[in-house]
């Protein structure tokens, strides 16, 4: 989704002074790059409220974002993205300096940045996080994994989600990720738990039932 569509969705939902601040900050980021984006990302958390954004019926808008999250993604999406090498380096710096709330917004917004096709490695970093809310920002209610991650990475994401006790049914495109190999991993996991006398996680059966049967 180009930044313009994101702006058209987010900006009208902001309080007037938040909108004025955001529009000025976006302009500063477009001309000044990362050195303007840093302070704007931090301040968005204070300048914009944390009320939920209303998703529009058409157009694949996110369903669980708050206004400050929408603004943070819009700011990040306004960073000049050409040349791509410089943009990736800037994004790396942005992500590595982000505190938790900024991280959550950025990972939620991966699919809405200019070149999401280049961001699979960054998505993988988010999925390796030990901070559950950061992991969930990539994995749940987010079109990014289904569109841009390799099948192996998606399978690991589902397994980790089960380990975390997350509601993996919220993974967008889950059904397309449930292949024979995932079925094998899940059945092995079930055997391991049964042998240990330990219960299976919530939603385990729901995911397994989506996988092709072991005995075609």
């Amino acid at each position: 989704m180009p930044a313009a569509r994101l702006a058209a969705w987010v900006l009208p939902q902001l309080a007037p002074d938040s909108r004025t601040w955001t529009e000025a900050a976006v302009a500063r980021v477009k001309s000044g790059g990362l050195t303007e984006l840093g302070p704007a990302m931090a301040r968005a958390g204070r300048r914009v409220d944390h009320l939920p954004l209303v998703p529009l019926p058409q157009g694949n808008f996110p369903s669980h974002w708050t206004a400050d999250q929408g603004v943070r993604v819009l700011l990040a999406a306004s960073l000049p993205w050409d040349p791509a090498a410089r943009w990736l380096k800037d994004l790396d710096t942005l992500f590595s300096c982000a505190e938790v709330q900024e991280s959550i917004a950025l990972y939620q917004g991966l699919a809405f940045l200019p070149r999401p096709d280049l961001l699979a490695p960054r998505g993988a970093v988010g999925l390796r996080s030990s901070i559950e809310s950061v992991w969930a920002a990539v994995a749940l209610d987010n079109p990014f994994p289904g569109r841009h991650l390799e099948p192996a990475a998606c399978r690991q994401m589902i397994m980790k989600g089960l380990f975390l006790g997350a509601d993996v049914r919220r993974i967008i495109g889950l059904e397309a990720m449930t292949d024979g190999e995932l079925g094998r991993m899940l059945r092995d996991f079930a055997r391991e738990r049964n042998a240990a006398g330990r219960p299976l996680p919530s939603h385990f059966d729901a995911v397994l039932s989506l996988c092709p049967s072991a005995h075609p």
Partner: protein, 295 residues
């Protein structure tokens, strides 16, 4: 009876939770932790980045678990400003941290050896402070202090900062007059034995009053006293300094100096949040098997 005070210059990441508990019991309600060096030089920008992240993250949480509000300053200190390649890398990430919640100033910056490189980094950060509309905390050198202090003030004015936007720290009897006369904030660090101590602080306040003056402990990785501020407050009261003056020197002047950042005010601790040691920071606790204190 404890006297409510703040320590506006203390390196809490070098201190143990015993210190937090003792400080809270002695009346310290808030601390400002400046970004500084750790005792041996950092060799890459990643070390600075992770340190800044801990100042706005884990350390703030750690303090809160003992009932103390934690704020910080962000900056490239003078002791680590002499490698220009590294300095430039650090300067480039400062904008990503300096506007985060709880950052009350750019600092602690200024001179150590008074080299050209230190001056370059100092000037660049004064410009950043202006751009972000943040106060500045200046570390004055311990060697050639008077000349270094004068130079630090002159350069700040040259860059168009107002003196009331700048805190000149680590003052002595020799530097204070000039600092106060030029309209800067004059902070005094109370060391256990050397540079400036509690009794001398009493004399400074007797002589100069409380206008523009406040004190701090700068407790850090070396031998320090994290209770220096409450002890000095008690000493002042015991020696007949009036409570309003003591409150200015140990609480309200520092608030006035750093308050314009919009990140610190007495309201932050006026309604005391109950301590809840069941809370976690990104999944981690300050406890190691103890029963959580829940007020």
């Amino acid at each position: 009876m404890t006297f409510t005070c703040i320590d506006p210059h203390i390196h809490m990441s070098s201190r143990t939770t015993d210190d937090y508990q003792a400080m809270r019991a002695a009346g310290v309600v808030a601390v400002i932790e400046p970004a500084f060096w750790l005792g041996q030089p950092r060799t890459c920008v990643g070390s600075f980045r992770d340190y800044f992240a801990s100042l706005v993250g884990w350390e703030r949480f750690r303090a809160s678990q003992f009932g103390i509000r934690h704020y910080c300053t962000i900056g490239l200190n003078s002791k680590e400003a002499n490698d220009p390649v590294l300095a430039d890398e650090v300067l480039s990430i400062l904008p990503l941290f300096a506007a985060k919640d709880g950052v009350v100033a750019i600092g602690e910056i200024g001179f150590d050896d008074q080299t050209k490189e230190e001056e370059r980094a100092y000037r660049a950060q004064l410009e950043l402070a202006k751009r972000l509309e943040l106060p500045v905390m200046v570390h004055t050198p311990h060697r050639d202090k008077s000349a270094g202090t004068r130079r630090s003030m002159a350069i700040a004015l040259e860059h168009g900062l107002r003196p009331d936007q700048v805190v000149i720290d680590h003052n002595t009897e020799e530097t204070v007059q000039d600092v106060v006369d030029q309209g800067f904030w004059a902070a005094f660090t109370l060391y256990p034995q050397t540079k400036m101590g509690s009794q001398r602080m009493v004399e400074v306040v007797r002589r100069y009053g409380s206008k523009q003056i406040f004190c701090d402990s700068s407790a850090d990785w070396g031998v320090s006293d994290p209770l220096a501020v409450p002890k000095t407050a008690a000493l002042m009261l015991a020696q007949g300094i009036d409570p309003a003056t003591v409150e200015a020197v140990c609480l309200t002047n520092a608030l006035a100096a750093y308050g314009p950042s919009g990140q610190i005010s007495a309201a932050d601790w006026a309604a005391t949040s109950p301590i809840d040691q069941r809370r976690l920071f990104e999944g981690n606790s300050v406890l190691r098997g103890q029963t959580p204190r829940v007020d």
